[in-house]
Amino acid sequence: MTELFAMEFFRNAFIMSCILSVLFGILSFFVVMRKMSFLGAGIAHTAFGGVALGIFFGIDPFVSSLAFCVISALLIGKLVRHSSISYDTGIGIFFAFSMALGAIFISLKKSYSFDLMGYLFGNILGVSLTDVLLATGALVLFVPFMYMFLHRILFMTFDEEVALVSGVNTGLLDTVLLVFLASIIVISIKIVGIILVSALVVLPASFGMLFAKDYRKVLLTGILYTIFIMIAGLYLSYFIDTPAGATIVTSGTLLYFTAVVITWGRQKLRG
């Protein structure tokens, strides 16, 4: 199994999987507990518009999709805060608009030589050292941020209005979290793809919640679970020759379902 590390793309994908596991393990908890799971899918799909825009204007698709996703996430946040529109509605509007825009740009560009399927479903062969460095950059910024503001964010997640009157700057924290979420989603698209990345936003916390009743344990369980499914998915995809993103998400979901059945069975046995 170690011979796979001789290949640069696998080495990069392996390191990146570990970094993304920590990022999603933490982010997932706050997204799921704030009932914003659809936001992950929404932002990821918004990236499609960004990628197509980049291809159309000859900009690096990573840069254009990052800008597109961050701006969309902030606009969704602003829209929800300052109007009567719910998160689901705001996301639904941006989601469809961006996908439609992407389809128009792609069709206008008569000839293109990029891996559209790779963007949609992920392609570990395309994971470069630059991607690893970007993921490392996100880790270096995100983990200290969470360490410094964990309990304020927890308070905001539990009870936003009360957190505000208790001195938590909920508007600023919410904005920073949205920027992190959008950036981390865009960085992870190379591995798991636009369509599948939303699984990494919801699965870690959902799995952790099955086994832990304390937020610190949920975060830790979520991180360990994500590391396991990403590494196992990578190896499995290599040996059975399937797309890495799809293998990670399929095995992760099956593991989650197994855990659901086990916890359900244990509860039944206890009566």
């Binding site: 539990f158 209005e161 937020y215």
Partner: protein, 259 residues
């Protein structure tokens, strides 16, 4: 004579939603260390008044002062301890009672949010005040409605507020639990010197425990001592003409029916 600054003062407050007037010319003064309940039927604008006091509403006409300052200015200063309406918390939220109360102290700390022994004393002290100290390791979602209310009161107190704002605090509590809860509020007012503003639609029970009642239905129809409300015709305007004000003692042994 010294001019005493009221804890809260609303002067000529109007709020509109489109063509509809939600609040009309509300003038209300709450003195420091007073317990006041704003009562009225559903949709009468009670909760909106609370939101205005805490600076959540920008679009109103008139003036609102909290200790002579703008609510937006003091909103994040920790002056308010707030218990929001209903039991909207996710029962699966993975957190214990101690950490729910601790949230209020973490937000007072600087970067890295390291709690000091004094913070722990405050957390444990407030849990004892609300008689929930024995439950500090319990999962918050597993508590009963009344126990949750007590924990959330402890969290509100842990910010060391000057004004406690409670939106329908008795929702989900049975009659005995309600009485205990309101008694607790009176004890806290006396021991902590708190000003307490709450919203309720249950005028009968709440009137036994508060210093002042404010009956609201779009307008402020009555503001005064609860005993003066019973004979006031404004009650019929707020709750309808078939409303009876039941004034009764703690065990309802000498219930007295007054129109």
């Amino acid at each position: 004579m010294d001019h005493v600054i009221p804890a809260i003062e609303l002067s000529g407050v109007w709020i509109r939603y489109g063509q509809n007037v939600l609040l009309e010319d509300i003038n209300l003064k709450v003195e420091e260390k007073e317990i006041i309940s704003i009562v009225g039927p559903n949709g009468s604008g009670k909760s909106t008044i609370l939101k205005c006091i805490m600076g959540f509403k920008d679009t109103f006409r008139g003036s609102i002062k909290v200790f002579d300052r703008d609510p937006k200015e003091v909103q994040q200063s920790g002056i308010f301890g707030y218990l929001p309406q209903g039991n909207h918390h996710d029962i699966n939220f993975p957190i214990d009672v101690y950490n729910v109360v601790a949230m209020a102290r973490y937000s007072k700390r600087g970067l890295f949010e390291k709690l000091k022994p004094a913070d722990r004393d405050i957390i444990n002290g407030t849990l004892e005040k609300v008689e929930m100290a024995d439950f500090r390791k319990h999962h918050f979602g597993s508590l009963s409605g009344g126990q949750k209310q007590r924990v959330l009161i402890a969290r509100a107190l842990a910010t060391r507020p000057k004004i406690l704002i409670l939106d329908e605090p008795s929702t989900g509590l049975d009659a005995v639990a309600q009485d205990r809860f309101y008694e607790l509020l009176k004890t806290l007012r006396d021991s902590e010197g708190l000003t307490i503003v709450m919203v309720s639609h249950d005028i009968g029970t709440v009137s036994r425990f508060v210093d002042r009642l404010a009956c609201v239905k779009q307008r402020l129809h009555f503001h005064g001592r609860p005993e003066d409300c019973a004979s006031n015709e404004s009650l019929a305007k707020v709750f309808g003409k078939n409303t009876y004000f039941i004034s009764h003692d703690k065990n309802c042994e000498t219930c007295m029916d007054r129109k």
